[in-house]
């Protein structure tokens, strides 16, 4: 099975202190460290596990700049067979639809049975996967928590729905799936693995390679634009329970049950 995973490089929320820049329209990006968007990493692991079972190759692609090669190498170190950087000055400022258009052009240049995305980017809007599927006229399922390959170009998948329940589906290939975290346990990528792929050339695709009209993507074509960015004010903080141990335990149970955590 030929699998494409669309991945993205994002500031790692656990390793950064996100602050607003002085203009107040973006975050301060000078000292950020980045990693692969977490759900995308699960998607790559899932792709690797599928090809390990049924054969095939895994391609990882990202729309971005040279800095984004970092995550492509990490995913190659994880085991992806091929990585592609989709990059062009004309792509800058694309909205979700723009990114989906670029990916659609890339998908049409290849032959993929299955396209995986993360359920959402940590700095994104969980929209590209669905739009990409629509543009390609492929079936789409989101929040996927397991994938089983069936006979006759079909997959059996489960989707997470509210309340922790799962829904099982059958879906035809080719399709687009957005992968939920927890679908697997992504393997560790060590320094050694990254060093081993450090000099593997990564092909770059731009508007000409994708035969894409630059006017349909980028800032000029974007219909959704970020106009502001703010950090919400801190709330009151924790609610302290004042009582003896038994009372506190009862109160905690009540609070957890009220939030649906106990049945």
């Amino acid at each position: 099975m030929e699998i494409l995973v669309c991945a993205r490089r994002v500031p790692d929320t656990s390793e950064n202190e996100i602050e607003l820049n002085s203009a107040g329209n973006d975050i301060e990006r000078d000292e950020l460290v980045y990693s692969v968007n977490e759900p995308d990493n699960y998607a790559v692991e899932e792709a690797l596990q599928i090809t390990a079972r049924v054969g095939g190759t895994v391609t990882v692609a990202t729309v971005g700049g040279e800095d984004d090669e970092e995550i492509l190498r990490r995913e190659m170190a994880m085991g992806a067979n091929r990585a592609v950087l989709i990059s062009d000055d004309a792509f800058a400022g694309s909205d979700g639809r723009g990114i989906a258009s670029i990916l659609k052009a890339f998908v049409q240049k290849g032959k993929y049975d299955l396209i995986l995305t993360g359920v959402q980017a940590e700095d994104g809007a969980a929209q590209v996967g669905g739009m990409l599927a629509a543009m390609l006229d492929y079936p789409f399922a989101s929040l996927v928590t397991s994938i089983e390959v069936l006979e006759g170009r079909k997959l059996k998948i489960s989707r997470e729905i509210e309340g922790g329940n799962k829904e099982m589906h059958e879906i035809d290939l080719p399709c687009v799936l957005s992968i939920q975290t927890g679908i697997n346990e992504p393997r560790y990528v060590g320094m050694r693995g990254i060093r081993a792929v450090a000099s593997v050339p990564i092909p770059m695709f731009g508007t000409s390679e994708l035969e894409l009209d630059p006017n349909t993507v980028g800032e000029s074509a974007a219909k959704v634009k970020r106009i502001d960015y703010f950090v919400p004010a801190l709330g009151k903080g924790a609610e302290m329970l004042h009582g003896n141990r038994e009372e506190n335990i009862d109160k905690v149970l009540e609070l957890v049950a009220a939030k649906g955590g106990l049945k």
């Binding site: 656990s14 990693s35 560790y188 990528v189 050694r192």
Partner: protein, 694 residues
């Protein structure tokens, strides 16, 4: 030959069996050689291990740990038994060989053991055989009746080892009886014929057996003589050939195991012996994935283990129900070797160890505290094996999810918490602290003689920052010209390396070494034993390093530090030895000397202290690992402190502080037990000039 007389009849009894004895000799020796050759097959296929250096140091260890049985008295009963048996075997060796040869050459006398010397030797060995026999009886009774808990085999590790142990004990007892009967029959025959006889040792086994044979006819005595010889010979060779199939192989291998044992504490084996860091990229596979990835010495360890259970008896992971028992790391390794390198037919090697022989959780459960290695009478190595297995898992991407984030953060930010580099020195920048003490960050403008290497947890953890501030205040108090690396410091990488991520460790180490060299300091001080061990053993070409407890102890002796008396005279203190300060670096006395220099401080020792200290739960990345366990190690440790009658635990390691503080809460002992770092306590008690004047 003077004074030694062999009557014709006695030797002629053996002469009839000479052909038989020769055949048994030949079969026994050939069998043993074949078996040992087969046992060497995996060792030859194992990884290389450079253990041929420093022969004098190695011989010294043979004298101490092999001939001197140094570790044995740590377990009083079993140790005494073993020393007696070992001494008996050493003494009896010549006698046994003489007896074996006598069957073929009746007049043989071992060179040097004729005459008076021979008579004395025979008296001594009469007793030796008797003592070994009694030890066997005692050992069997102990196994069957008293059943020490450490010999139990948990169901998941298979069947009980007791039947095999008893079988071997009985065989040795039979050997002793046969040897004694042989001597007794000879003496009885000689005395019945009125020939001059050699005196048997009074009350020894041969002496008693001779009395028993006194009234027997000469023919019967002759039969006993022949029978005893045959029994001795068969038992001897059966044992010789059977030992390589079980725990008694250590009789042969221990000498080599101890000679080739690891010489340097606190160090780790390289990824590959003989492959420098700069060539590691060329190494195809890291660590131990299949049995053949173990070094030959580590395989030899598997053979040498005598299944005494002392490692697991002292293993904190085993004590709290984690799925790790060092004893079975070895036993399973040996079983694998026996099974996959059979006596006949081809070996079938190459099977993955993780998932088949060892489990991932088992290998991650180790805190590398070193208690097992400290206890092992045969100096079997565990930490290097565990780390090698982890290197293999890291290489295959098998790392628990809980460890992946901190490892990634170490890679991008140089600390496991993912905190910003520029905030690494924030602990020294609080207003209140800056009024009392200034800590300069070393750069090309600000130099110093001494570097205070803070490391990640003390830099970033709110609670542990207090240890950093106390350390700085002490250094300032004794007039050290010191500074820190600040944002240029990275995690020491001590646990990164011990968790198997060698390449990440090398990156951290190289960064730190460069920063330390650039700072131009002449010495390093740290309050973190893990950093101390890394700087001392894992780093090269850095200035000498001291732990803060050594600095304080030195300054107390030099009279530069004086302490005020403790405020609360009712407090009882106990010192908890951090593994990487104590066992791995042998710093036991300095922290205690510091405590004892504080006037009015009442100190007690826990039952487990110094080299038997009980790990608090592990440091570094171990804080992120979520082990399967029934109880926390720290909780056990806090209970041990309470049993010792203490209500204040003093430790000298930020990770011990985390674990013990948590454990006090988990054990519900808040208000009854507190914990304080040695640097914090020393700083609190410092008698400063102003106070002295007042």
């Amino acid at each position: 030959m003077e004074g030694f007389y062999s009557p014709v009849q006695v030797t002629s009894w053996l002469a009839q069996g000479r052909a038989l004895f020769l055949v048994i000799h030949f079969l026994g020796i050939a069998g043993f050689c074949y078996i040992v050759a087969r046992r060497l097959v995996p060792l030859v296929r194992g990884e290389r291990d450079l253990r041929f250096d420093r022969p004098l140091a190695r011989l010294g260890r043979v004298l101490k740990f092999w001939l001197g049985q140094w570790k044995h008295p740590r377990y009083r009963t079993a140790g005494t038994l073993h020393i007696l048996i070992f001494a008996g075997f050493i003494l009896l060796a010549m006698r046994a060989f003489t007896v074996l040869i006598v069957g073929v050459s009746p007049d043989f006398v071992m060179p040097g053991l004729g005459g008076k010397t021979g008579q004395s030797y025979n008296i001594i060995t009469d007793y030796a055989a008797t003592i070994v026999f009694l030890c066997m009886v005692f050992a069997v009774v102990r196994r069957l009746v008293f059943r020490p808990a450490r010999y139990l085999v948990p169901a998941k590790y298979g069947k009980s080892h007791t039947p095999d142990a008893i079988f071997l004990l009985v065989l040795i007892a039979i050997l002793m009886v046969a040897d004694s009967l042989f001597a007794a029959a000879k003496a009885a025959a000689e005395s019945q014929q009125g020939q001059p006889i050699e005196a048997l040792a009074v009350l020894s086994l041969p002496w008693i057996l001779k009395i028993a044979l006194a009234s027997a006819s000469l023919t019967t005595v002759g039969k006993f003589y022949f029978g005893a010889y045959l029994l001795h010979e068969i038992t001897f060779y059966f044992l010789l050939c059977y030992r390589p199939f079980g725990i008694q192989f250590h009789v042969e291998t221990s000498l080599f195991s101890i000679y080739f044992a690891k010489l340097d504490r606190g160090t780790l084996k390289p990824v590959r012996w003989g492959v420098g860091d700069e060539h590691l990229d060329e190494v195809k596979s890291f660590g131990v994935k299949t049995f053949e990835d173990f070094t030959w010495k580590h395989m030899l360890d598997f053979y040498s283990c005598s299944d005494c259970g002392r490692c697991s008896d002292n293993c904190p992971a085993n004590a709290v129900g984690r799925p790790l028992s060092p004893r079975f790391i070895t036993i399973k390794g040996r079983d694998y070797a026996f099974q996959h390198y059979p006596m006949f037919g081809r070996s079938n090697n190459g099977k993955a160890l993780i998932g088949n022989v060892y489990s991932e959780d088992e290998i991650w459960s180790c805190t590398t505290c070193g208690a097992c290695e400290e206890e092992c009478p045969l100096l079997v190595e565990y930490i290097d094996k565990i780390v090698d297995l982890r290197r293999g898992m890291v290489d295959d991407g098998k790392v628990p999810q809980s460890l992946q984030k901190p490892l990634k953060a170490l890679e991008s930010r140089g600390n496991p918490y993912g905190k910003l580099e520029k905030k690494r020195a924030d602990w020294a920048n609080t207003k209140e602290f800056q009024q009392a003490c200034t800590v300069k960050t070393l750069d090309h403008k600000n130099g110093a003689d001494t570097l205070y290497f803070v490391d990640s947890i003390t830099s970033y953890d709110d609670r542990m920052q207090s240890i950093g501030r106390a350390t700085a205040k002490i250094l300032e108090h004794v007039g050290k010209n010191f500074g820190i690396l600040g944002a240029a410091e990275r995690d020491s990488g001590h646990e990164v390396r011990r968790f198997g991520e060698e390449m990440l460790f090398i990156g951290l180490r190289d960064h730190n070494v460069e920063a330390i060299k650039a700072s131009g300091v002449e010495r390093i001080v740290t309050a973190d034993p893990h950093a101390y061990n890394a700087l001392r053993h894992d780093y090269k070409d850095v200035p000498p390093v001291e732990h803060i407890s050594q600095v304080i102890a030195g300054e107390v002796k030099a009279g530069k530090i004086r302490f005020n008396a403790v405020a609360n005279k009712n407090n009882v203190y106990t010192y908890h030895d951090p593994c990487y300060l104590g066992r791995h670096n042998q710093v036991y006395d300095d922290p205690r000397d510091v405590l004892d220099a504080i006037p009015g401080l009442k100190r007690v020792e826990m039952a487990r202290s110094r080299d038997r200290s009980f790990c608090c739960g592990g440091g570094g990345l171990m804080l992120f690992y979520e082990p399967k366990e029934e109880q926390r190690m720290g909780v056990k440790r806090v209970q041990m402190a309470a049993e010792a009658g203490a209500n204040v635990i003093v430790t000298a390691c930020p990770f011990c502080m985390v674990n013990i503080e948590d454990a006090i809460k988990v054990a519900g002992m808040e208000g009854k037990m507190t914990v304080i770092d040695l640097a914090e306590l020393a700083e609190q008690q410092l008698a400063r000039e102003s106070q002295r004047a007042a």
